[in-house]
């Protein structure tokens, strides 16, 4: 291989004047974390609403939930992000479209919302599976105690369902982090994006990508370890995963 390795490149100042190349990658890591967290919050909130809708007895609600999941699951994430970024501002009334385009940090907000909604379909499916895995008696007991539907979900079904689906939700959160790299296409300088621009400035392509790879692995390990602790502390006694 006639490739010139130069591992000292990380300590060289970057051409943006924001410190070294390493600082550049670390700022990318921060953007990746921020985007993933915001996307995950959006995914959890809207995914929970849709997941609950799919388990309601109302025909309309479960049909809306079904359609929502199908739409967000059957269009590639990249296309969805393009729709939010390029298409939505054009379809809105002129003033609203202009306002949207002139927001500061548009790529960040678009990526978070786009990835969040894409992941929400997956969260919805998991939560629905969690709720339906509960014995029918739980819902009936709630009704027999005189709880309203909202109360049954709030106090009986959801606390159990969330604890059951926590392990699959962990892997969905890891997917969210990985998916945040797609935002490079709309110019968000997250970790992969910073590695890419480091490659363009310094021509040290393999060093840049090695560093990005290691940072992704590190992030993965941190999240997995953290979630294992949470999973252990909320595990339901009596279930296989429980104490």
């Amino acid at each position: 291989m006639n490739y010139h390795w130069n591992w000292h490149i990380f300590l060289d100042p970057n051409p943006m004047g924001t410190g070294t190349y390493l600082d550049m990658l670390l700022s990318g890591l921060v953007v990746t974390i921020k985007t993933s967290l915001l996307a995950w919050i959006i995914a959890l909130i809207s995914g929970s609403i849709v997941g609950v809708m799919r388990t309601l007895s109302s025909r309309a609600a479960s049909w809306i939930g079904f359609a929502y999941v199908e739409i967000f699951r059957n269009i590639p994430l990249l296309v969805q992000i393009f729709l939010w970024f390029f298409v939505l501002p054009e379809l809105l009334p002129r003033a609203a479209g202009l306002w949207l385009k002139q927001l500061p940090d548009v790529p960040f907000w678009t990526a978070s919302v786009g990835i969040g909604l894409y992941m929400s379909a997956r969260v919805a499916v998991q939560l629905q599976a969690g709720i339906s895995s509960l014995p029918r008696g739980q819902r009936q007991a709630g009704t027999a105690l005189g709880l309203t539907t909202v109360q049954t979900y709030r106090y009986v079904l959801l606390p159990m369902a969330f604890r059951i689906v926590l392990p699959p939700l962990t892997s969905e959160f890891l997917n969210t982090i990985k998916n945040s790299a797609v935002a490079i296409t709309i110019g968000l300088l997250e970790l992969t994006g910073e590695a890419r621009s480091m490659e363009e400035f310094s021509f040290q392509v393999f060093e840049a990508f090695t560093a990005a790879t290691l940072l992704y692995l590190l992030l993965n390990v941190v999240v997995v370890t953290g979630m294992r602790l949470i999973e252990r502390s909320v595990a339901i006694p009596g279930y296989i995963s429980g104490k």
């Binding site: 059957n74 590639p76 296309v79 298409v87 054009e90 945040s180 790879t213």
Partner: protein, 230 residues
């Protein structure tokens, strides 16, 4: 809102979108699925082989690949494949590898990790009595896998394998990051040339949606058909 929606730009670019773009996307999907299943099965067999070292190597490979974003892996191989080619052929400078070759290598290596997890679950779903019976009949390890375990594992996992193929079909759109004209890439070239982003991206979304939902509907039908009654 749709007052100046230009349907003609879609009609004009249909041959390009489908004969070039979709052709690339579907070929890449089919070949990567095939390669991914072959290598994935080998990795799964390594993990279940009982040899500590082989199992560890396969496990590390799968965990490593699964913790990286596909976009990063695409970039890695886009830059790495020419050097690998140089190393394999002993050429004096990095070998030029076409867009298709480089993305095929990427997807096979990436998807093999995911397919191997599916195949591992499939192999583990076979009851212990089956390989035991095969051994009692005097079949070798190879024959046991070839004639007894793998056919059943494939059958049990067929719906999951196909669902992963649909995911793979959607993921191929990510080759956009290295400017390869797959279906989305082709749509985006036309969109930027004619300044018709709204039409082209909505049309691309619609096409992906129709193909993926029809395919997942078919998988659900198949699932009820092939389920083995025990």
């Amino acid at each position: 809102m749709f007052a100046n929606f230009d349907f003609d730009v879609i009609r004009r670019s249909l041959p390009y979108l489908f004969f070039q773009g979709m052709h690339f996307t579907l070929t890449l999907t089919a070949l990567s699925t095939l390669g991914g299943i072959v290598f994935g099965t080998l990795i799964a067999l390594m993990r279940l082989s009982g040899y500590r070292l082989l199992g560890r190597i396969a496990g590390i490979y799968v965990d490593f690949i699964r913790s990286l974003p596909l976009v990063l892996v695409i970039f890695w191989f886009y830059f790495l494949v020419p050097y690998i080619g140089q190393w394999l052929t002993g050429a004096s400078s990095p070998v030029k590898v076409g867009a298709f070759g480089s993305s095929l290598v990427t997807f096979i290596i990436f998807e093999a990790a995911y397919f191997s997890e599916i195949m591992r679950a499939g192999i583990q779903s076979i009851s212990r009595g089956q390989p035991a019976a095969a051994q009692a009949l005097g079949l070798t390890y190879r024959q046991t896998m070839r004639y007894v375990v793998l056919p059943q594992a494939f059958r049990n996992m067929l719906p999951v394998l196909l669902t992963q193929t649909i995911v793979l079909f959607q993921d191929t759109s990510l080759v956009y990051v290295v400017s390869i004209p797959d279906f989305l890439g082709a749509a985006s070239i036309v969109a930027q040339r004619d300044g018709r982003l709204v039409e082209m991206y909505l049309f691309a979304a619609l096409v992906y949606f129709v193909i993926s939902s029809c395919a997942s509907f078919a998988v659900r039908q198949l699932q009820s058909r092939v389920a083995v009654i025990r």
